[in-house]
Symmetry: C2
Subunit: 356 residues, 2 copies
DNA sequence: CGTGTATTTGAAAGGGTTCAAAGCGGGTGG
DNA sequence: CCACCCGCTTTGAACCCTTTCAAATACACG
């Protein structure tokens, strides 16, 4: 169960509060002043801290300040207990980044609600999302769940698309992001010379178009078209931005994800510049596999046109095909009747993707 | 001066408050109930809204809800006026995303402070930062200024680096970001084959290493080394994360910037895949110029080694040199004695960078 | 003023693209 | 149900851009 550190100088309040919390199955650690509180926080790494403001030795602000400095304790949810509605204290507290405050005397329910709420938020923050673009999809799902935003994907906007239909096109105004219920979708950018560079492949459960909604110009920066018949649900921009900007936890988490995206992209850029097509092909195959788009025991795999596969690697269609046949001859992959790919030797592919 | 919309049903309070605000030179628009308030908000697009919670026709929550729906009014700072410290109301308000609340009766100063603070925040949000990586530097500066974080660049960590010295290296633990006071710095990634891909060039006023601090692994993802003797000041990770995560305005703004970075990077990726070296060279030159690293009336320009310039384009040193001499013969650029570049025909370079 | 490093030029080799043509497969209509 | 046709895939060969290796030249620094 979750550990809570309670820092409070008044013995009555301290014991009373501890009792309430223990009845709810929290493990409670108590400290009778700020100094001891900081020590115990470092020692026990609690899941949440309740802290009085007015205390001898080191006051609440001091405790918070001190714990913020250590990265081990900086992210622990922090709730202030204020003696009475001391307006300036509360304001000061919120400004320096305390998560919540409770005015004494508080109701049992009030206390427990606040704690439960914070611990839930903290759990959300601790959750890891994969660093690839599709990590954003997991994230939006979790976040909308966490904020109970049923408005997202209200099912009222569900639409069916056929293969080769466009969902949105590069350069048009971005009003919606899209959630894929079923089917497969590719997003791509077209160059002046008419080549298509595939920026992503998406399947059920993925969101597409988020990035365009965040861009300066409010235009879609890529085109999305359907690879295999799909059911797709549009989500208004407003719902998305509300989700993203409206809540501190969500926006901070989003920064993490998108930062990792950026790092990922940098790596991709280096590959593009200096890796041979052979290496990039191996990488692309592994990536497809990782996304569950390659046929294996669990997945059906998608039937991806060679042209699109080439666009994913950033090479000509013929070259991509040559690489695939090369891999086939080496026994690394196999091609089924309807151009579906199967990976036979993942280890060797990894080797190629790293060392050539 | 700034326009403020005051929605309040009690005539005394309304007139009194309006007087205070007008004395401070704000333009005040008043509304006596929620419904009229919403109408006036849409019509006048005020810079800030003060709104009572308990009102006939449409209460404060309703007004807020309704204005959030329209993107014209959604980003206007919103302050609630609560009759008395109705705890649940306050909490509900903060949860749905109201910016602040004031408890009636309030002091003149309290009101004016809250308003000034919100308007300042709103100005910060409206500010545009350039979408390139260096936009992040502007942003950090503005943000630390806005939060009055003098701790950042406290001058206590100022260090001198000589040409070719490393500031940090790829793969080591990231504890700090760095602020460049003077000199020039390059960041790059090294491939297995020993090539260097230059990920950025930075000058006075730029921050480097931010992205690494945000990455999952907490390692620097690139190496930074000095091009021309520099004075650099280290900023602890904690100060940066505090700045970034501690404040909703700042983190939301950061999302905008970094999203645009991502879009920018995508474009770069497409170029890498399908553009000729000639095109990419032209783009690199224009980018250097845009960053003020090329010699012109205002800037001294940097003396960039050809190897690094090649790393920026993602090509071999010899090829980069060949392109530069080609441009020189075409009269597009000139090379000064100490390998400093000068742009002679920017228009033509732009043409090349777009159409080849 | 010499020495070592960075830049520039030259020429050959290699990887990838492009153009052309042949194969394959799947859907459609008789 | 079969034949035909169209579009996608595959293979072949020539060409071109870029890299690589080699050598000459320029430049900066002690």
């Amino acid at each position: 169960m979750n550990k809570i550190l309670l820092i409070e100088d008044n013995q009555d309040v301290r014991e009373n509060t501890a009792d309430i919390l223990e009845l709810e199955n929290y493990t409670v650690i108590t400290a009778e002043n700020g100094k001891i509180g900081v020590e115990k926080a470092l020692k026990h790494a609690p899941d949440l801290i309740l802290c009085d403001i007015m205390m001898p030795e080191l006051d609440g602000f001091g405790v918070f300040e001190s714990l913020s400095k250590n990265h081990k304790t900086a992210s622990i949810p922090f709730i202030f207990l204020t003696a009475k509605s001391e307006k300036t204290d509360v304001r000061k507290g919120m400004n320096i980044g305390v998560d919540d405050y409770l005015t004494k005397p508080f109701e049992e329910d009030e206390l427990l609600d606040a704690i439960a709420c914070r611990i839930k938020k903290s759990d959300f923050l601790k959750k890891e999302f994969s660093k690839n673009i599709e990590g954003i999809s997991e994230f939006i799902n979790e976040a909308s769940d966490y904020l109970k935003l049923e408005e997202l994907s209200n099912d009222r906007n569900l639409e069916k698309y056929k293969t080769k239909e466009y969902i949105f096109t590069e350069g048009t105004a971005a009003h919606q992001l899209y959630f894929i219920q079923s089917g497969n979708v590719k997003t791509y950018r077209t160059t002046e010379s008419g080549k298509e560079f595939v920026t992503g492949l998406y399947g059920p459960g993925d969101f597409i178009g988020q990035l365009s909604l965040l861009g300066d110009k409010g235009l879609y920066v890529e085109t999305a078209s359907v690879l295999e018949d799909a059911e797709i649900c549009g989500i208004p921009k407003a719902d998305f931005t509300k989700l993203l900007y409206g809540n501190k936890e969500v926006s901070n988490k989003f920064i993490d994800i998108i930062s990792n995206n950026l790092i990922d992209m940098q790596e991709h850029l280096v590959d593009m510049a200096y890796s041979t097509v052979r290496k990039r092909t191996a990488k692309a195959l592994l990536e497809l596999d990782h996304k569950g788009l390659i046929k294996d025991s669990k997945h059906t795999g998608i039937s991806i046109p060679r042209e699109d596969f080439a666009g994913l690697i950033g090479t000509a269609t013929e070259t991509a095909i040559r690489m695939l046949t090369e891999f086939k001859h080496e026994g690394l992959i196999d091609v089924e009747t309807n151009r579906r790919l199967v990976i036979l030797d993942k280890e060797r592919l990894k080797q190629i993707s790293e060392f050539g």
